[in-house]
Every structure is written in structure tokens, then in C-alpha cells.
Amino acid sequence: MRPLPLIVVGCAFALAALMLMSIPPQPPAPGKPATTPSPSEFVISKARVFDGETTWPRADVRIKDGLITAIAEQLEWPSGLAVVDGSGKTLLPGLIDAHVHSWGEARQQMLRFGVTTALDMFSDPAQLPGFRRDRASLAATDRADIWGAGALITARGGHGTQFGMALETFDDAAQAQALVESRIAQGSDFIKFVVDDGHAYGEGHELPTLDSTRITALLAATRAAKTMAVAHVAQVDTAVAMLRAGADGLVHVFSDRQANQQEIAVMAETGGWVIPTLSVISGLSGESVGPALGDDPAIARLLDAAQRDSLRATYPPQFQNAKHLPNALANVAALRRAGVDILAGTDAGNPGTAHGASLHGELELLVRAGLSASDALRAATALPATHFGLADRGRIAVGLRADLLLVEGDPTTDIRVTRQIVTIWKNGAVVARKPAPSAVSNVQASPALAAIDSPFSGKALRTTQGQHWAPSIDAFVGGKSTAVLTLESEGDTSFMRATGAVATGTVYPWAGAALLPGDPPMSAVDASQLTELSFRLRGDGRELLLMLLTGENNQAPAMQRFSSTRDWQTHRFKLADFQGADATRLRAIAITASLPAGEFAFELDDFELQ
């Protein structure tokens, strides 16, 4: 057959041509999100080097394929090797935040601030296998590595159960071994347990906690499983007791009072260490360092919207007590003098903190407590690595992971210099430091809110402008409080009545009424043009909270307390007085009852925001 050879030759030529055309100029490769291409082998030359323990006035460090391959005062290297000039700068090991709660974008947020590793003290245990997998890799990445406790161990209804996460509680000493084994099976790298009866936060905050039988059984179980046990405590007495009972360390410093010499000496003798978390304690003290940190230009330019909001957020006023920070600072100073190892941790994830950024604030607080700048740097590098057995990091030494931080200036004399970051390397690759565009752009301008008035003269629980009133209760954090709103009238005036009961069972129970100004409800509106909130209220004499929910959806509300009176009384509040509120993104205004538990009733009329 004639045509066949012709077809064959034709096809072959056409194929060859098409194949040539389809050679990709740049064959597809996996994008490396938020990292820029960097050579796999390079030298950082002439920098001051803080290696996690001591400072080299000038040294060269060589990196290859994600690992540190050489360090010396003067290295020789073949020409052609990429060189980073470190003169005038200081090279540090990637920082370790020894107390975080990591979810969402936390790991990316940390890495942007030079925190290359963190110890997670309670978050979703489902993340643990991923943490393990990722931290074993030397590939370029846009996120920090995590060692984690997974789910913490606490008593039923105790601290840790208030976040609305399903959590198996520790109710019977006989459970100890099974509980420890199940945590280890979930992937926990160490066990965190809570001994906190709420006493340190003042009256009305009492919580169930573990008794000594369960603690003894738990520590026996962790010893048998050859795993670390770290304790959440808030008080001097429990701190001493836990370290003596065999806990490896404390994940907060005690701040109910200043410990005496003898107590400090007993703690020092146990060899235990302490992660003070002064960042979060400053917030509990009502003098959060978060807002100032967020205003520092070196920090501010790298914050995304969620981090900015989180730094400004505050604890509810009933949790604030000015004694905490001075006590904590004095206790840290005493512990350090007694030779107790101090590890830098922020408790980021809580109000007044932001992942990554807050570690720089924590270092400053540690120096304020009396640590030298070098001690503070050790607290965020070699010490946590040593105590938590992170063998491949925490120092600049041959064979360790090239998690590095180059800063402008000398942080061993001025700790604030850690914020002057020039370059971050994670696994030997340069980290791009711009906040994710998505994180920045979600700060869309919210629609402006016009003045609201709500005289309750109509038939529905609505403002004149049409916004709804709704019951506001603590169900979504696991509470059992109740609230009912009704429209009532007396003579020719009508008003809204809120009745219900505040039930214990969560740490911050509440119930009351909320006005949702946005459409759809809980969407943000811009109330920055409005200044004053006023209403008439009568009630049962209880103390009530006026809360503004602003900013990101999960941000803690800004609030003020006021007392209800048995007769109608007019209350006025300036929006500017709500510490931590972001009036440009108002989501809800709530009037609620909180602790002490029990029934409540109040009536509201002539609510105005103008």
C-alpha cells in the first residue's frame, strides 16, 4: 500500500516538530511558597556570632544543603561560593518560642519574625503528626517547626476546658497510665498538665484542678513512659509542689506573690526550669506590652491583620490584677539568681500576644526582669533545645540545622536589636518576610455605621435602623448559661427585658443581649465616626459587662463593667475608652451578666450609639 509509508514519515516529522515545541522552557517545579531561591551552599562571613551559648566577636559560618558545615574565626572557601557579608551584624540561631498555642497561620507568622521553632503547649492534637513530619525535613519552608504537648491534661471543668475544644479530662488517678499512653499515641512530644485552682486570678475564679493523688499517679506514669511532664501553675505553692513532685519544668512563672528565698532554693535544687511567659502575664496585669510592641516600626511592618488585632486584645477586666507582672518579674529575677534555667516563651495565641512578634517582646521583658541580654538569648536558643531534647537545633554548630537569624547591631548588649532582622534562614533557605497578601488584604474597609437608636417602641427587638437584638450566651465555648429577650411595656413606655441564668462550667461564663449592627449579623461595620454609647437600664443590682466585639472574629472582646440599679438609670460610655477595641471593625455590642453564677434580669431602653 503506497500511502502508508508516506503517512508514517509524515507523522514522524510532525511528531518530532511538536515534541520540540513542547519542550518546557522551565520545567515545572514545586513552588516554594514565601521563600526565595537561595544557593544551597554559602558562607556568612565576618559577622559577630552568638552560637546559643557564647559570643564570637567575628566568625565565618558555612552552610550546605540546610545544615551548618563549618564555623571558625576564619574559614577558607573556594571562590565562586556565595558569600553573605555579615560585618556589623550578628548571627543568631533561629529563635525558639518555648510556649505557644499554634493554629491557623501561626507557624508562618512565627517564621517571619525569626522564630524557627516553637514548643506548643496545647492545641489540636490532630496537628501533631504533621508537626513531626515537617520538622524532620530539610526542605525550604515558610513555617516554623513545632514540638507539641497536644492535648493538655487537666481536671474536669479545669483550666484548659474553656476553649470549647473536646478534651478528655483526668478524673481518676487510675486513668493516669492510659491517659499518658493515649497522648503519646496521638503524637505528644511531652505531657503538659494543669495545676491551677484559679485562686491567683482573685475571688470568683475558682476552678476544679488536679489533686495530689492524681498528680502523683500522672508523674509516675510519665516517668514510666520516659516522657517529660511540664506543669502549668500560677501560684508559688503549687510551683514548689510540682517541681518537688518531679515535674521537669513550669510553663508559666508563679505570680500570685513573690516567693521567699527558701521556696526559690527548693525549686532550684530540683533542677527544674521555668518558662515565665511574661508577655501574657503583662496582659493579665492590665499593662499588656502587646500594643507597644505592635507600634514598634521594626515589628509593625511585618504584622498581618490578625497579629495586629491580637497584640491589641486585652483580658476581661475581671481577670486583670496589677500585682501579676511585678510579682512575676521579681520571681524570675530570684529564680535566675538561684541558678534556675529560664526559657523564653510567650503563650502566644492569647490576648495581648502575637505569634513571632511577641518573642521579641518577651526577650525584652526577661532583660527587664534582670537577665543579661546574652542570658535572654540563651533562653530563646540553646536552653529550650537542651531541655526539650531538640538535638538538631538551638545552637550554631557543625552538623546542626541552618536555622539562622542575621540582625543589624549587637543583641548581646541591647536585646531590642533582635527586631532589626536582616535575613532569616530556615533549613538553609532564605525566608521571604512579607506578610501573606491574603492576611493583609482581609482588612477591607467595612461599611460605615450610621448612628443607631433603639427606643424599643416597635413590635420587634430591632433598632430604628433595623438591626437585630439577639440573646448572647457562652454556649460556643462550652458554657450552659441561658438568656431570653422579650419586649415589654409599662404604661406608655416599652423596653427590652433580658432574663436568664449564668452557669458555671466554663472559665468566662456570660449571658445577656447583643446588638449586631452588621448585615449579615457579626460582619464588621466601621463605627469609627461614632463616639458615644448611651442607654437606660434597670436591673437586679448585679454587675454587668458592656462588651464590644471588634476586629477579627475570634478576638477577645473589649469591655467595661458597670452596676445595674433597681431604678432606671442612664449610662454613658465613650467608645475611645474601650481598651483594645478596633472601632473600624465593630461586630457586636453586648450587655451581659457574668460571674458570680446565678439568675439575672435587666431591662434596657433608649439605647443609642452616636
Partner: protein, 257 residues
């Protein structure tokens, strides 16, 4: 040739012959464990190993979805190459083909049966892989995208049927197994079906354009959304030309006899 007699038969008779032949071909291959097991199970086992069990992250690629596309290609190549290549070679050796050719069955039915069998096996493989990917690999794929992927993969069996056919005309009997394996395995690996091409040296990445399986993988990766800027027309043209080329080569062999 007796086909003149047959083509005079009513159309339904003819189509019945086609379908019967296809049905028995499928049944026969299903009852040949040496064929059915490797072609059905190997892609699935490899996929589960590399995409689900072994850890690793590939930047902004979704490993499970990426490998679903490439193991899908690997999966449909097997039945096409082996069904045609080895099947034809064995049947030529045993004289079965000659017997069929003198029987009053249209030659077309013989090839139709083999193509239909390849498509059925290919479909089963793709369904097995998809179950693993969606059930255990956390792959999320819309139904219409998945149907498109299946369509691309099934149409993609054509060039491999043609290559298999050509091999079947070149050698007889068990030799075809060796030849097909020599083509099948290196082509799969070098087109990045087992592990992605970016793990290979640059020149191998560029050289991958000579394999039809690479072109099919580009199509399926594009459909599943793992790579962008896919030049669909180009890859489809390559696959069609490959089909035409090997069909012509096979026809030359068969007629030259």
C-alpha cells in the same frame, strides 16, 4: 477475506458480533491473573505507597492529586500496551489470529474488542485510584472535573493501543512481554508518572517530551489543576499523531505479511 458476506448482514447482527467479541475478550483477560492482577493492582499499590503512606510535601503541589493524575496515566497504559501488544503476539503465535481471520467475523471486531477491553480495565484502574485518592489522600475534586479526567485518560489509551498493536506485529509470543515491559516501565518513569519530573536531572526533564505518556500526563495534570498554562492542543496533537504513526506502522507490518 469473508468480510463481504458479513457486511451484508443486518446492522444489529454486526453490532452483536462486535459486542460479544468485546465481552468475551474482557472476560478472558479478567480470567488471566497474570494480566488482570498487575494491571489493576500495581498502579493502586504504587499510588497508595507514594501518595498516601510515604510522607513529604512538594511545595505548592498537592501530592495526592498530582499523583492521581500521573498514576491514572500509568494505570491506563498497562491494559492498552499489554492487551494489544502481548495479546496480539500470543494470538499470532498460537494461530488464533489466523483462525479469527478466516472465520466469518469482521477483522474490525477483533480490534474493537481489544480497545473496549483496554478502556474497561483503564476505567476500573482510574476508579480504584480515585477511591484511594478521595478516601485516603484528602483529594478534593469536583464531579465534572473528575469526569473530564476520566475522559482524558480513556481517550489517552488510543496511542498506547496503537503502540501495543505495533509491538504485537513485530514479535511473537512471550518476546512481546519483554518488549512491552522494556517500553512500559522506562516510559512511565521517565515521563514522571511514578515520581514527579522535578526530582530528575534537567536534561531528563526536557527529554520527557519524547514520551506520549508525558503528553497525556500534562493533560491530566492540567485537568486536575496541578499545573497551569497547559497547551492542550499541542499535547492532543502529539497523542493523535502518535496513534496515527503506530497504527500505520502496524498496518504496514500486517499487510506486508
Amino acid at each position: 477475506m469473508t468480510s463481504n458476506v458479513i457486511s451484508a448482514s443486518p446492522a444489529w447482527m454486526l453490532s452483536r458480533i462486535y459486542w460479544r467479541e468485546a465481552g468475551y475478550e474482557f472476560l478472558r483477560m479478567l480470567r488471566t491473573p497474570a494480566f488482570a492482577l498487575p494491571t489493576l493492582i500495581f498502579p493502586l499499590v504504587f499510588y497508595v505507597m507514594f501518595a498516601i503512606v510515604l510522607p513529604g510535601r512538594w511545595g505548592d503541589f498537592d501530592k495526592s492529586a498530582y499523583l492521581l493524575a500521573t498514576y491514572g496515566v500509568f494505570g491506563i497504559m498497562g491494559p492498552a500496551l499489554f492487551g494489544f501488544g502481548v495479546g496480539l503476539a500470543l494470538e499470532r503465535e498460537s494461530g488464533w489470529l489466523a483462525l479469527k481471520q478466516v472465520s466469518p467475523m469482521p477483522t474490525g471486531a477483533y480490534f474493537f474488542a481489544k480497545i473496549a477491553m483496554s478502556l474497561c480495565f483503564g476505567l476500573v484502574v482510574v476508579i480504584l485510584l480515585s477511591i484511594a485518592a478521595v478516601g485516603f489522600g484528602d483529594v478534593e475534586i469536583a464531579l465534572d472535573r473528575w469526569l473530564l479526567l476520566v475522559a482524558v485518560l480513556l481517550l489517552g489509551t488510543l496511542p498506547f493501543c496503537a503502540i501495543g498493536l505495533w509491538i504485537g506485529t513485530l514479535v511473537k509470543g512471550q518476546a512481546a512481554v519483554a518488549i512491552v515491559n522494556l517500553v512500559y516501565l522506562p516510559m512511565s518513569i521517565l515521563s514522571g508518572l511514578w515520581m514527579p519530573l522535578f526530582a530528575f536531572p534537567q536534561f531528563l526533564q526536557k527529554a520527557a517530551v519524547i514520551w506520549p505518556s508525558w503528553h497525556l500526563a500534562q493533560l491530566s495534570l492540567g485537568v486536575i489543576g496541578q499545573i497551569s498554562d497547559v497547551r492542550y492542543l499541542l499535547h492532543v496533537s502529539v497523542l493523535l499523531l502518535t496513534t496515527a504513526l503506530f497504527l500505520s506502522l502496524a498496518a504496514m507490518r500486517l499487510r506486508g505479511r
